[in-house]
Symmetry: C2
Subunit: 172 residues, 2 copies
Amino acid sequence: MTSSSVGTADEPDAAPPLSAVPRPDGQSRKPEAWRAYFETTAALQDQLERSLRAELGLHLADYNLLLLLTEAPDHRMRMGELAGRMVFSPSRLTYQVRTLEQRGLVERCATPGDRRGAATVLTDEGRHLFRRAAALHGRDVRDRVLDRISEQEADVLLRVFSRLANALHEQP
Amino acid sequence: MTSSSVGTADEPDAAPPLSAVPRPDGQSRKPEAWRAYFETTAALQDQLERSLRAELGLHLADYNLLLLLTEAPDHRMRMGELAGRMVFSPSRLTYQVRTLEQRGLVERCATPGDRRGAATVLTDEGRHLFRRAAALHGRDVRDRVLDRISEQEADVLLRVFSRLANALHEQP
DNA sequence: CGCAGGTGATTCAAATTTCAACAACTTCAT
DNA sequence: ATGAAGTTGTTGAAATTTGAATCACCTGCG
């Protein structure tokens, strides 16, 4: 995907200025920032996905699902919660889990108290594959992103995106 | 989509350019920043897409395609270039353009010098719909993002994502 | 010229995702 | 209890996306 500019966008492209001094023309740089963010994100996800695919045959979505399970207590999570965290529709999650199950990376099982529910658990094989995937993906992310930003910039990113996330959850 | 955290990212951080103030515990906040960025981006795109869909029946990809055409000289662009900018596979672009063509928003036409090529042009109807879409999408983006960050933060985002984009283009 | 080797774009089948029901179960107020 | 209403997940068909051919055309060299 690309741009998604707010419309009033004049191309940035080159090395951006250093200070936060207001521009001579009094214009905001926010639209440019939005566009840079949006376009770069598309290219970045494309590359991360390709790498994971080429090396381990995993989609980024597979990776993220395995990551969530890895972190979950007992390596186990309800379908619903998983769907929410993945920003997936329920049916998409069902499909996704089915494919991982066919590859032996996860297993489905019933939930204790609620006979409607289902849960997904990481298998040993899933845990092993994730370990390899994490090494690869971690390297990819460091090479392409983390090693290219300063701690200060990381702080700003963390602050900004955390704030945005809170706002998104409050008023959908 | 979710996280994509770097997971097992225990590695000395790259040299922080400026005067990064280390955390008390000496840990880097980069992995957290990455994760906040990644997760928030997923939720944000989901909401932007929903809004555009609900109001105007456009996918975010439709919007972006129309945006690129709107900005292009003569409201016209080659398939190849469009695909590159959209980070779309050629066949995906072909399909995407076909659906927009069926809705009367764009037209295909031959390219002057090269009889292999094809180009896409925005129609008047496409231009009109884009205007409405831009108003809506612009408001969405302002409400959810731009009005929630400072000019200084926007500057950092612009600087960071421009830098990352350059790096991505250099070493795929 | 004449064709070997690209390039630009489309096509087709298979994989994935969405959307709108549906089924199974829980909850809660009767 | 009882059944209306809400939850949880799945299913099936249609829409979208991918990936491997394929088609049509350009380029350059012998």
